[in-house]
C-alpha cells in the first residue's frame, strides 16, 4: 500500500519539475492555449500528466453481449479520436484503457475496480445491460469514479457517480404512447417483453399511462431472455385484436419474433395491429432483416436517418472509420455523447477531479450532438427529444414524428413505482 502510494507521487513531482522547467519558455510565449499544471487540475491522484489523461472503456467485446456493445465501443473511440484531434481535454490527449467485461457481471465489477484503483482513470465509458451497471455501481460509488452509461434503461436510479446518456424509461415510452393515442386513435394495447427488469418497469410505466388516459391493456406477457417460440403469443394477438402491440423484447429473441410474425401472415405495414417497439434499433434490424420488420414503429431519441448537420457529420465520420456498411443505433449515438459530455464538464470545472466534474456536469449543454441539442439535468440524465421512426426494408428508420420540446428526464416517476 505504502509503496504504491509513494512511487507515483515521486515520479510525478520529478516529471512535473522537469516539465515545468522545459515548458516555462514556450508557455510564456504562448498566449491563447495556457496549459495548467497537473497539480492544479488533478488534486486527487488520477492518471493525469501534463500532456495526457487516462480514461477507461469497459464493454463486453466477447460473449453474448459483444454484438450489442461493439457499436458503443466504436462510438466512444471515435469521440476520443475526434477530441484528441481537436487538442484534447484541458490541453491533454486522452489515452484510453480498454477492458473486456466479457458479458459477465462479476467480470465487469472486477474490471471497473481495476480501472479505478490500479489505472486511476479520470472517467469510464461503459456498461450496456442493467445487470452490468448494477454490478459496477457499488465500485464506482466506493472509489468515487465517473461512469458514462449509454443505454436506454428502466430508470429508478440516480447515482452521483453515473451520467446516464441514454433515455430513462419515461422519456422513451410516454412520448411514443401519446403519439399512437393521438395520431392513430389507439384504444387497446398489448404489452409484450423479455422477462427482466427493463421490460417489466417499462410496461409498468406504459400500463399506468394507458389506464390514466382511460384506455385498456388487453394483455401483458413476458418471455425469458433468448426465447424463440412466439407462436402462442402471436395467436393471442390475433385473437384479442389490440390496436397497438407495445414491444420490449430484446436481443436474439427479436429475430425469431418478427420472423414468426411475418410467417403468421401479419403485415406490419398495415398497422392492424400497429407494432410499437422501444428495443429495436438499426443494429437489431441488421440481424432481423429489414424485409421482416418493415412497417413497425420505434420510439427512441436517435435514428441514423435523422436529418441534421451534426448527424450528417457524425455518420460520415463513423463510416469513414468503420466502413460504409456500418449502421448506427440509438445506444451507439448515446455512447458517442459520453466523451464529449465529459470533456465539456472537465473544461467547465477546469479540473479532472471527480467531485468537481460532477458538480460541473449539471446543466452542461451539447449543441454538437448528432441527436441535436442535449443538456444534462441535475439528476444526471439528459434532456432529449423523442422520435418515432418507421422501419424500412433497407434496415433504416424513417422519422415520422419528433417531440417539439426536450423531454425532462424523470427517473423516479411518481405513481409509476
Amino acid at each position: 500500500m505504502q509503496k504504491r502510494d509513494r512511487n507515483p507521487k515521486q515520479q510525478s513531482t520529478l516529471r512535473r519539475q522537469l516539465l515545468k522547467g522545459l515548458m516555462l519558455l514556450p508557455a510564456a510565449v504562448m498566449l491563447g492555449n495556457v496549459q495548467l499544471a497537473s497539480a492544479e487540475v488533478n488534486t486527487t491522484g488520477l492518471a493525469v500528466t501534463d500532456d495526457t489523461v487516462k480514461v477507461g472503456i469497459l464493454h463486453s467485446i466477447t460473449g453474448t453481449m459483444a454484438i450489442s456493445e461493439t457499436g458503443s465501443v466504436q462510438a466512444e473511440k471515435l469521440a476520443i479520436d475526434q477530441i484528441n484531434a481537436m487538442g484534447g481535454v484541458l490541453g491533454r490527449q486522452i489515452e484510453y484503457i480498454q477492458e473486456d467485461g466479457a458479458s459477465d457481471w462479476p467480470t465487469f465489477a472486477e474490471k471497473s475496480k481495476k480501472l479505478l484503483v490500479n489505472d486511476k482513470v479520470a472517467a469510464v465509458f461503459g456498461c450496456w445491460t442493467s445487470a452490468s451497471r448494477k454490478a459496477v455501481l457499488p465500485v464506482f460509488e466506493q472509489y468515487n469514479g465517473m461512469l458514462y452509461y449509454p443505454t436506454f434503461y428502466e430508470g429508478l436510479e440516480q447515482s452521483p457517480n453515473v451520467i446516464y446518456t441514454g433515455q430513462e424509461a419515461t422519456q422513451q415510452i410516454l412520448a411514443g404512447l401519446d403519439w399512437v393515442m393521438e395520431n392513430k386513435g389507439a384504444e387497446n394495447f398489448y404489452l409484450l417483453g423479455s422477462d427482466y427488469i427493463w421490460p417489466r418497469t417499462s410496461n409498468k410505466i406504459a400500463r399506468k399511462h394507458i389506464e390514466k388516459n382511460g384506455l385498456k391493456v388487453v394483455g401483458e406477457e413476458y418471455y425469458p431472455l433468448g426465447h424463440t417460440q412466439f407462436n402462442s403469443v402471436i395467436n393471442k394477438i390475433k385473437l384479442k385484436k389490440p390496436d397497438v402491440v407495445f414491444i420490449s423484447v430484446v436481443g436474439g429473441s427479436n429475430v425469431a419474433f418478427y420472423k414468426q410474425l411475418k410467417a403468421a401472415g401479419i403485415e406490419m405495414g398495415k398497422e392492424k395491429p400497429l407494432f410499437l417497439t422501444i428495443s429495436v434499433t438499426e443494429d437489431e434490424i441488421l440481424g432481423i432483416g429489414g424485409e421482416n420488420i418493415d412497417g413497425i414503429y420505434a420510439s427512441m431519441k436517435y435514428f441514423q436517418s435523422l436529418d441534421n448537420e451534426n448527424n450528417a457529420g457524425f455518420v460520415d465520420a463513423f463510416k469513414e472509420k468503420y466502413g460504409e456498411d456500418i449502421v448506427i443505433g440509438d445506444v451507439t449515438q448515446a455512447a458517442y455523447l459520453g466523451p464529449w459530455l465529459w470533456k465539456a464538464a472537465v473544461e467547465k470545472a477546469g479540473s479532472f477531479d471527480i467531485d468537481k466534474v460532477r458538480a460541473a456536469s449539471a446543466e452542461i449543454e451539447l449543441t454538437s450532438a448528432p441527436e441535436g441539442y442535449v443538456k444534462v439535468h441535475p439528476n444526471h440524465h439528459l434532456w432529449s427529444k423523442t422520435r418515432i421512426g418507421q422501419a424500412q426494408t433497407d434496415g433504416q428508420y424513417k422519422v415520422v414524428y419528433e417531440t417539439s420540446e426536450l423531454i425532462e428526464p424523470n427517473p423516479f416517476p411518481e405513481g409509476y413505482q
Partner: protein
C-alpha cells in the same frame, strides 16, 4: 515403510501444504496490493469447488458438471443475509416499500417473501450455507445413485440442474434479483466489508477456511473411505460384490463436495460483494471442472493451484489483450491437457519422482546393496488417472 504409510501426513504432504501456506499467507499478501489480493481471494473461492471436484471426480469417479449450483446456493445464502442488512428502512427510504431489498421494490413486491425472513439471522445463514447445498445434493444423489445412474448420465443431469436453477433464478426476479443478481452488499453485522482492511481480513479468513477444508478433504482421502472411493471409481462392481453399499459412499462424497462448493460460494459473495446467476449456470460449472483438471484431478492441492493459475491467467490475459484473450485461454487449456494429462500436480509428481530416482541412483552407486527402495517408493504413490475427461463407467 509401514510406519510411514500409516502416518496421516507423509513428509511430502507436509512440504506441499507448507509451500501452499507460505504462498497464500506470506508471499501473496506481501507482494500484492489489496486490489490484486482481493482478486486472489476471489480465485480461492473457486478453489473450494475444485477441491470438492477432486474428491468426487478424481477419486470418486463422479463427474459433476453442476457444481455451480452448490456454489450458487452458498453464495446466494450469504448474499441474502447481506442484502437484508443493506436494506434497512432508513437506507431504502425512497422505495415504495422501504425495508425490503431494492429489486423487490422494482418488481412490485410489497412485503418480504417468507423464505427471506430467516436470513435476518447470521446463525441461520451460516447453517444454510453449510447444509442446504449438501441436503440438495443428497436428494439428487439418492435419486441417482440408488438407481445406479452414473457416469455420463449423471454429468448430464447435473448440467441440466444447473440450467434449471439459472432459469429459475432469472425468472423469479422479484424474489432473487433476476439477471442482475443480488448487488450492492455493504456490511456484515455492521462491519463494512468494502474497506481495504476488511478485504485483508476476509482474505485471511478465506485462506483459513480453505485450509480447514483441505484438511477435511485430506482426512477423507486418507481414511478407508478414500481408498474405497478409488476402488469404486476403478471397479464399482467388485466393490459392490464385496458387500459394500456403493451408493452410500458416492452419496457421501457428492454431498461433501457440495458443502465445499457452498462454502466457496459464501466466500465469493463476501469478497466480491455480490452474487449473480452467471455464477450458477453451466458455463461456470464447466470452468470449475477445468480448474480441477488443470491442477490435477487427483490432488487437492493441485486443484487450488489450478484455480489460482487459470483465473490469474484469465485476468492478466484479458487485461493485456482484451480482444483476443479468449483464444489464448482456449489454447492454454488444450495445451496443458494435451501435454500434462494429469494436470500440474501430475507434472509436479513426475518431477519429484525423477529427483527421487536420481537420488536413489546416486545412493545406489554409493551403497549398491539396497537397490530395491526406489521402485517400492514409486508404487506407494496414488496411481495416475486413466485419462482426462473420461469418468470410470458404472
Amino acid at each position: 515403510m509401514n510406519a510411514l504409510k500409516n502416518n496421516l501426513f507423509k513428509r511430502q504432504d507436509l512440504i506441499n501444504y507448507g509451500l501452499l501456506a507460505i504462498l497464500l499467507v506470506l508471499i501473496l499478501p506481501l507482494t500484492l496490493d489489496i486490489f490484486r489480493l482481493n482478486l486472489v481471494g476471489k480465485y480461492l473461492s473457486y478453489a473450494f469447488v475444485a477441491v470438492g471436484l477432486v474428491l468426487c471426480w478424481g477419486y470418486g469417479g463422479i463427474l459433476s458438471l453442476g457444481q455451480g449450483v452448490f456454489f450458487g446456493i452458498g453464495g446466494y445464502a450469504m448474499a441474502m443475509f447481506l442484502k437484508l442488512e443493506a436494506s434497512s428502512p432508513e437506507a431504502t427510504a425512497i422505495q415504495s416499500t422501504p425495508g425490503i431489498p431494492d429489486f423487490m421494490d422494482w418488481n412490485q413486491l410489497t412485503a418480504l417473501p417468507w423464505f427471506w425472513e430467516p436470513f435476518h439471522s447470521l446463525g441461520f445463514t451460516t447453517l444454510a450455507i453449510l447444509f442446504v447445498a449438501p441436503l440438495f445434493a443428497f436428494i439428487v444423489a439418492v435419486a441417482m445413485f440408488k438407481r445406479r445412474v452414473g457416469g455420463v448420465y449423471f454429468a448430464i443431469i447435473t448440467q441440466a440442474i444447473a440450467a434449471i436453477l439459472t432459469i429459475l433464478i432469472i425468472g423469479q426476479q422479484g424474489y432473487t434479483g433476476g439477471v442482475n443478481g443480488i448487488t450492492d452488499l455493504r456490511t456484515l453485522m455492521g462491519w463494512d466489508i468494502r474497506t481495504d482492511s476488511a478485504k485483508y481480513i476476509l482474505y485471511f479468513f478465506c485462506v483459513a477456511m480453505l485450509f480447514a477444508c483441505l484438511l477435511l478433504a485430506h482426512l477423507v482421502l486418507k481414511s478407508k473411505l478414500g481408498r474405497l472411493l478409488v476402488a469404486i471409481r476403478d471397479r464399482e462392481d467388485r466393490v459392490r460384490f464385496s458387500g459394500y453399499d456403493v451408493s452410500s459412499f458416492k452419496i457421501f462424497v457428492f454431498c461433501f463436495a457440495a458443502m465445499l462448493s457452498a462454502i466457496g460460494g459464501a466466500m465469493f459473495t463476501l469478497q466480491v460483494g455480490f452474487m449473480s446467476p452467471t455464477l450458477v449456470g453451466i458455463v461456470p460449472s464447466i470452468e470449475m471442472v477445468i480448474f480441477c483438471a488443470l491442477g490435477g484431478r487427483l490432488s487437492i492441492i493441485g486443484a487450488v493451484y489450478g484455480a489460482l493459475l487459470v483465473n490469474a491467467a484469465k485476468t492478466t490475459m484479458s487485461e493485456a489483450f482484451p480482444e483476443l484473450w479468449l483464444f489464448a485461454m482456449g489454447a492454454l487449456f488444450i495445451g496443458v491437457v494435451l501435454a500434462f494429462p494429469n494436470g500440474l500436480a501430475g507434472l509436479y509428481q513426475t518431477l519429484l519422482q525423477k529427483v527421487k530416482e536420481r537420488r536413489a541412483a546416486a545412493a545406489a552407486q554409493k551403497t549398491p546393496a539396497t537397490p530395491a527402495i526406489a521402485p517400492r517408493n514409486a508404487t506407494s504413490d496414488p496411481e495416475p488417472a486413466q485419462g482426462i475427461g473420461v469418468p470410470s463407467q458404472s
